[in-house]
């Protein structure tokens, strides 16, 4: 009897359903929570010249209990130097502007794909996804070839006689915006397309029937109904752009300040792992706010 009860308990705990549910939890535990705890631990330590280059959290001296060495020094340091706050603000600014730009361009593209003849939609969508087949890094490098002073863009414009002197785009914030908008456009287009494609065309006809001009219908019907798609697209762009490192590093100038670049610098130039970790933790906290907002909006959309 007891054996049987044990067996059923075992069965109840380790059935297929629970196993399936546990996979995402294990995934998050191993690949998110565990690394996060390590980074949090490092951020509380002090930098030293050693391998690894920070003080251990627990040290076993002569005493019975381990001595805990933890301090908020790295965090206090972040607030004492205006560089970090400026970098955070600049990152938010760049992420916001590029999200808005991506939204405008992405909406136009998603809208025209969703309204294209059915047989064309698949092909057009394929073209949106196609760049993913090439490495992200290579695509960003390709932009250097286009944007640099003697690059393709300037060559074309000068050959056509539109400009006389080459435009300085490379190593400016403009180049960073171009790179970000280009790289993140598919993340905006796909959720918007999914939303716009299933929109009931009868609603637009109903609006017209009730006396609404086409342009106004777009603002009063199409936009409000595509809000879930707009939110999904914006968060999918905004969140990764905040921490973007490759694009500002390759296309941006020395003046382009983004927290991803600062983070990299702390790790590899200054070898100050605790401060670098603190930068990462603060960045994560900054991102948690939009992520929670996104979650809330998704919940609302479902209900």
């Amino acid at each position: 009897m007891a054996n049987q009860a044990k067996k059923s308990l075992f069965k109840r705990t380790f059935n297929g359903r629970n196993a399936a549910i546990s996979i995402p939890y294990l995934w998050l535990l191993l690949l998110f929570l565990f690394p996060f705890v390590i980074v949090l631990k490092i951020s509380l330590a002090q930098p030293i010249i050693a391998i690894p280059p920070y003080t251990p959290l627990f040290s076993w001296g002569d005493s019975l209990w381990p001595k805990i060495q933890a301090g908020l020094d790295s965090y206090l340091f972040l607030f004492s130097d205006s560089l970090y706050i400026k970098a955070y603000l600049s990152s938010i600014k760049i992420a916001t502007i590029s999200t808005v730009l991506t939204l405008i361009i992405g909406y136009a593209i998603a809208y025209s794909i969703a309204r294209a003849p059915t047989r064309w939609r698949g092909i057009l969508l394929m073209l949106v996804i196609l760049p993913f087949w090439t490495s992200f890094l290579i695509r960003v490098y390709a932009w250097i070839g286009i944007l640099k002073t003697e690059g393709l863009l300037n060559l074309a414009l000068m050959t056509l006689g539109i400009i006389e002197k080459p435009l300085i785009i490379m190593n400016t914030d403009l180049a960073v915006y171009i790179g970000i908008v280009y790289s993140y456009l598919p993340f905006m287009i796909l959720p918007l397309y999914a939303n716009l494609e299933k929109m009931d065309m009868n609603l637009l006809e109903a609006a017209a029937d009730l006396g609404c001009r086409p342009f106004k219908t777009f603002w009063t019907v199409t936009i409000p109904l595509s809000l879930p798609g707009i939110l999904a697209g914006c968060f999918l762009v905004f969140i990764p752009v905040i921490g973007e490192f490759v694009i500002p590093d390759l296309l941006g100038g020395t003046k382009t300040l983004m927290i991803g670049k600062v983070l990299w610098g702390e790790f590899f130039y200054n070898r100050d792992w605790p401060v670098a970790s603190a930068v990462a933790i603060i960045m994560l906290l900054l991102l948690v706010v939009p992520i929670i907002l996104y979650q809330k909006s998704q919940e609302k959309a479902i209900s």
Partner: protein
């Protein structure tokens, strides 16, 4: 005479039609959806376009609303040519089959949507919305979103929204199609009441012939982009112009045969089924020997076990099937040549003591004036 004219304006040549559809053709590529169609609809009519799916009735409705441009022809509303006017400027509103309620707006905002486009002052909009909500008895649901309404409630919101702007013409695309039978029947009468109260001209598209019969002042039966017959429900049912209309509207028994001339009892038809002469009172003007048809509604066929005491139109058969429908029963009777006829009999007695049952030998007969003679 004047009374007839107000209820049946199409009979009075001095009455001016309110909607004039003149030689309209619509082609989608090679496919002709509407084929040179002309139709006059009068003020305050409740006009039904009835036909099988794909007959062009919805295309015609969408052309009136302005969503489809016609290839040829024109449409006048109250004397004004609307052919080139875009949908948002037409004095016409439409109730969509899917209702097309804006899911992000509350019931009252849905109803107010059209009024806001006209830039009416807020107090007038509110008043009109309130009236509409009362009309469709949804005052308590004003703050709800369409997702929180039942099918019947959504249907009423859609109706209120399309009526709010007091259109000259209201188009209804299968307005009751999504409702269950009981609700549909109830709503049919409500629609008629509302149409009468507001004095709006209604054009309704339906494939449900019973619905068309119940609500309409006139019915236009369509097939393959053409109007086959335009007439009152009674005329369509009792005097269809050909077999197609007769068959589409209600059940019908068709007798095929050869025209043998007229005598005192009426038009003679040599029936292919009974090989005997059957009669219809209605006269025809075709040469003797032509192929003609008699159409006979099932409820006009008397079914008896005893030989009826009449001098013509008697057929002998055997009951094959009985469908009990509560208030009436449907009998399928097989004639000697194997042809099956349908007869309907009201169940007047609760327990029919000498009721008919499967396999019974029975006689079918009808009065000559209940058959319709068809030439095609």
């Amino acid at each position: 005479m004047t009374e007839t004219n107000t209820t049946e304006p199409w009979l009075d040549s001095s009455q001016k039609p309110y909607i004039q559809i003149e030689n309209v053709t619509k082609k989608f590529g090679d496919f002709t959806a509407i084929d040179n169609l002309s139709l006059d609809i009068y003020k305050n009519e409740f006009f039904s376009l009835l036909g099988p799916s794909g007959c062009g009735k919805t295309t015609l409705l969408r052309m009136l609303a302005g969503f489809e441009r016609f290839t040829e022809g024109r449409v006048l509303v109250d004397g004004e040519d609307i052919s080139e006017i875009p949908p948002h400027l037409r004095p016409i509103n439409m109730m969509f089959q899917s209702y097309a309620l804006f899911p992000h707006l509350t019931v009252e905002k849905n109803i107010a949507f059209g009024l806001k486009q006209d830039k009416l002052p807020d107090n007038i909009i509110n008043q009109r919305v309130e009236e509409m909500l009362q009309l469709v008895e949804l005052t308590d649901f004003a703050k709800r979103k369409p997702g929180q309404l039942s099918g019947g409630q959504s249907q009423r919101v859609a109706l209120a929204r399309s009526l709010a702007k007091q259109p000259k013409l209201l188009l209804l695309d299968e307005p009751l199609g999504a409702l269950d039978k009981r609700l549909r029947e109830q709503t049919q009468f409500e629609l008629m009441d509302i149409q009468e109260k507001l004095e709006v001209t209604f054009v309704i598209v339906t494939h449900d012939q019973e619905e068309a019969m119940t609500v309409s002042s006139r019915i236009g039966v369509m097939d393959s982009g053409k109007l086959i017959q335009v007439a009152t429900p009674t005329q369509i049912y009792e005097a269809p112009i050909n077999r197609e209309v007769a068959d589409f509207i209600g059940d019908v028994n068709i007798f095929k045969g050869i025209y043998k001339g007229q005598d005192a009892k009426g038009t003679q038809l040599l029936s292919e089924d009974s090989k005997s002469i059957i009669y219809a009172t209605q006269k025809v003007d075709v040469p003797v020997g032509n192929r003609i048809w008699f159409a006979l509604r099932p409820e006009k066929l008397e079914i008896t076990r005893k030989l009826p005491e009449v001098d013509c139109n008697i057929l002998k058969g055997k009951i094959e099937d009985i469908g009990y429908g509560g208030s009436f029963s449907t009998y399928h009777v097989k004639l000697e040549n194997g042809r099956q006829l349908t007869a309907i009999r009201a169940n007047r007695e609760r327990t029919a003591e000498h009721h008919l049952t499967w396999g019974d030998e029975v006689y079918l007969h009808w009065s000559p004036d209940s058959a319709v003679v068809l030439l095609s």
